[in-house]
Assembly symmetry: C2
Homo-oligomer: 634 residues x 2
């Protein structure tokens, strides 16, 4: 039923902006993260991830488990996400040393699998008898899901089935527990649903499909499950409230859901699984629910940066239109999950709105999650930071002014690494006779349908995209909503095909040279007056990039700026700033400081130029003020 | 050392705006609160306050304590605050039935006092042996402080010493514990310091002064005290963190304090005690600390409404310039405490800035705390309420859209009652040869120095204040900072005396007719650009009243309004609205709704008139949007 599918890993050879990021991940992020997993990275919090697997192997063999288990209950998933990222990276940049590291780690993981297929170091080390008794908190299915994704990625990149074999055995075990033996539970932290769908596509194993359906169809139909589970076992990991069905998306049958609520990462992982299942089975009721949830997120609860989950309380969606810039949570992982969801929706229907959001999330929140040097990471991505308040006030403690290094709860850094390394999967898609260009990603692509494509562009900084396509079929080129004006030429001639749902379909016979020129004029963006926190403010964007105003470019003070939206925004090449960027110069006024807190004399306003830089690069020049939304002068 | 002192209760006979409020408190609030204390008020949460005293009396007599203790550990203070309010009210409006009720309650309280003078129903009923072992949480000194205030008030109003005798015995007991027996502790919730100073002034009992000095001088010099106390006893009431010295103002010796931090009510009660002590002893080091703390609050941490303590986390001060309108805590009691602090500072130095803040807090936050009918109350006083977000979003749960009835933790309602009933104490002061008019309060006043005064004014709605003064001496008339322009005539002639620290001193010989005309032109007010949440916004004020924009007057939608601050604000008498008010008509535009969340097309703006009503009266017409700060058009 899939109207199109993602590119296979390795089919995209990156260049340009994306290429540089993939190289950074390969050269810096993945090696560093490996050191962290092995507890050899200086300054990083203790991880113990590899040691947990080694110790679990001892437990399986009946040996003493040494220093036992350490870390979060979901610590295993760090290894999985690292393998997945490394696998993608190996397809991009073959590297024997890295491949050897992955193989060695897979050996360690293999040894940690119990005879019956169970694989989870926390319970294997601590207490085998407690397996599958705390789905609410214990993340067994979450860790399994990530390891399934890693296994699929490693197989796809290298053809090696070592980890895939482990996970087939693991899936068979889970199938026995949940389908044959009738365990009525479903994952506290959804993830495995989308992983099972990935494995189903790769292997055709019907157990995967059956389990994904089971978890999705059960969820929310028995809102009391976690409470009974909690009572029956009599112990907890963190004291999660089993009655908080909104937090874990278990209060409403998924097919009835209208509003995206609860823990944002869990939500978008779950919705991705739903959309993948709908694409596979043609389940229109499920797809309708996905569309409602998509609208709930993107039309009522999403930051301009593609950040979602606005509140720190439960790392969750808040309510509609509650989008505070300064106390935002907007976890990096949630925006990555939103890209997964968008990409899964594109398998159901090819509409530019999905790719638009994917692009918005990627170029802003996802990239902002990582320091330009690839060494430090944000979980939380505020749209405003004021030193003295951010990170200090009780309500702003989570909004840091600077990226810290590796966290104990290390979900975001490896998540960003695997996303960037597999960017081609999100940028391009295909079906039997068409190739789909969802995102403008420089490089070359070979499709399974036999077509080939070379994309030349400086996107997101340049707005000309040249596609050289060979083969026979069609190429679907996306026209983003943000670019009302565009020109499209095919072999030098204007092409007048109208976009269908935001994609122009161009027939290709043999070879075609396609040039898309988008409107890259910098623009002011206004929020709906339904968003209380954004009334009277504007943001500045250029192409897919949301800009922000930092103290570093504005004399240390962005709070006193007001933008003149009647004026023209100018561009300034800044090849030596923030890894090479284009600054925006915005006509503005600076408000004079006042003596006390309040005055009935309107403070004097002096015309000035306000300087903006891309949001993804904020916080790379030391602690300073940062604002995406600025009050407007008129 | 006091440069002037508060008026004695009963010396002010109210009229006008204040008179109506005092009448409302007398006729509605005090009787209703009595029913609550006796558990006879429909719809109110169970109080058990009177029953706790009855049961404690049984414990003292060695009888069975029946249903024992119920409620908060500081439940006794509700009785104290009610007696204090009733006492003030009796001086304003003699009422035999009410006086009988107070006497009966005092009898019950007297019976609950232990032979050694100890008085606290929680420990008397539950466990005598635990007395004085949990100063951090158990509020024994806090309850004693409130009962001391009640005793002073009842003596001042009626001349009856019944409760004062009880509290003298109680103070002697506390003196024995803390001074003679050397208990090293100090109150977890400051309050008794200011109460002891009140009792010292009334009775001259040196034990009061010694205790107040002891508590103030000890505090913060032993930051580890609460931790040791907690360890030693091994039990807790709520699990307050004994290490959180900022919360309970015990981390820094008070004389060194620079920033107002921690629980806001505790802070201002404590600072009031400090200022009272400084006024009494001439301790300039202590006064300097008070001035720093005053500036910290009023110049960096105060809402335009006189609300303080901006964060729900610990009901506390946040950091400088963190003044969110929508997630404000701004507890009613904190603004009442700020009035106490201001009034105490006026005993040290007569400066209009203290009275300005007192007025700002009273006419806005304190009055907003009470429904116009006197039957429902706000603890939390946000400056913005948006139904659907306020009271619902996790970060906004405390910001209710409507005043609830009586709370289990009933601090604010009786606190407002006692403040309003004793308004004369804050409005007027005196010393040997001068009467001080701090606030414009219609009515008549007889001073101890022999002078008399009649004040006629419609303030806060009218801006002409007529004083008829008789006697020989001076009258000090305050010129508020908000009124740069004013005229002052004495016996029909312009008076050209320059204000000293915001007060004009006018000699009176026999009789004088003084007319002060303030500038009541409605005005836009702007915040310092250091306050991130208020950049690009303006508020509207008239005299001391801060105005707000409610949905009820603005077609249900205030979020889409932007004010034209170049235009003129018009006034509209509205005698039938909100108990009689003046509406303000502000030139504005209404921003069109947009389809999605963000648009690069600037939404159309249609000129309109925005209607504002006084903030103190908001939320009296059902749930609707409310905003004090509105984006400005230009």
């Amino acid at each position: 039923m899939n109207v199109q599918k993602q590119l296979r890993q390795g089919a995209y050879r990156s260049a340009g902006f994306i290429g540089r990021y993939q190289r950074l991940v390969s050269d810096t992020v993945i090696p560093y993260q490996y050191e962290v997993l092995c507890d050899r990275a200086e300054g990083a919090e203790k991880s113990h991830v590899v040691q947990n697997f080694i110790n679990a192997g001892k437990a399986v063999r009946g040996e003493d488990t040494g220093d036992g288990f350490y870390g979060m209950v979901f610590q295993d998933s760090d290894a999985a996400k690292w393998i997945e990222a490394a696998a993608y990276s190996l397809a991009n940049f073959p590297d024997d040393k890295l491949e050897k590291r992955v193989d060695d780690l897979i050996d360690i993981i293999t040894a940690a699998q119990d005879e019956d297929g169970y694989l989870d170091t926390y319970f294997t080390i601590k207490d085998k008898d407690k397996r599958w008794t705390n789905l609410l908190e214990a993340h067994e299915l979450y860790c399994a899901g990530h390891m399934i994704e890693a296994a699929c990625a490693y197989y796809e990149s290298t053809g090696k089935s070592s980890l895939l074999d482990v996970m087939k055995k693991n899936v068979a075990h889970i199938y026995k527990v949940f389908i044959e033996d009738g365990h009525g539970g479903f994952p506290g932290h959804p993830e495995i649903e989308l992983a099972l769908m990935k494995m189903y596509r790769l292997t055709g194993d019907e157990k995967c499909l059956a389990l994904a359906e089971r978890f999705i169809n059960t969820r929310g139909t028995d809102p009391d499950f976690y409470r009974r589970e909690c009572e029956a076992r009599g112990w907890q990991v963190w004291g999660n409230d089993p009655g908080n069905g909104e937090y874990q998306q278990s209060n409403i049958p998924l097919r009835k859901a209208k509003d995206a609520r609860g823990h944002a990462v869990r939500a978008v992982y779950l919705y991705t699984g739903m959309a993948e299942l709908a694409a596979e089975t043609g389940d229109s009721e499920l797809l309708d629910a996905c569309k409602r949830l998509w609208d709930s997120i993107t039309k009522r609860q999403m930051y301009i940066t593609g950040g979602i989950g606005s509140t720190v309380h439960g790392e969750a969606f808040s309510v509609d239109h509650d989008l505070p810039p300064d106390t935002a949570y907007a976890e990096t992982c949630a925006s990555i999950g939103l890209m997964f969801f968008a990409s899964a929706m594109l398998k159901n229907e090819v509409k530019a709105e999905y790719a638009d959001v994917m692009e918005q999330a990627f170029y802003n929140t996802v990239l902002a999650g990582m320091q330009l040097d690839g060494k430090r990471f944000f979980y939380v991505n505020p749209l405003e930071v004021i030193p003295g308040i951010s990170g200090v006030a009780a309500t702003h403690k989570h909004d840091l002014t600077q990226r810290p290094g590796w966290y104990a709860c290390a979900c975001c850094p490896p998540n960003a690494a695997r996303l960037i390394s597999s960017f081609g999967k999100y940028a391009y898609g295909e079906n039997d006779d068409t190739v789909f260009c969802h995102l403008y990603a420089a490089g070359s692509v070979g499709f399974e349908n036999g077509m080939e494509l070379v994309c030349e562009t400086d996107h997101p900084y340049g707005f000309t995209i040249n596609y050289t396509v060979t083969g026979n079929g069609k190429i679907a080129v996306r026209i983003p909503h943000r670019s009302e004006k565009y020109t499209l030429t095919v072999n030098g001639e204007a092409f007048d095909g109208k976009p269908q749902d935001g994609y122009v379909y161009i027939p290709v016979s043999g070879k075609a040279q396609i040039t898309l020129v988008l409107d890259g004029t910098p623009r002011f963006v206004y929020a709906s007056p339904k968003v209380p926190r954004l009334t009277g403010f504007a943001a500045v964007c250029r192409g897919p990039l949301v800009y922000c105003f930092e103290g570093a470019d504005n004399g240390g003070d962005v709070l006193s700026l007001k933008l003149d939206t009647q004026g023209e925004i100018r561009e300034q090449d800044a090849p030596d700033t923030l890894g090479g960027t284009v600054k925006l110069l915005v006509p503005a006024v600076r408000t004079a400081q006042t003596d006390g807190l309040y005055t009935s004399q309107r403070p004097e306003e002096t015309p000035c130029t306000a300087y903006a830089v891309p949001y993804y690069a904020w916080g790379n020049r030391g602690e300073n003020q940062m604002r995406v939304w600025i009050p407007i002068l008129q």
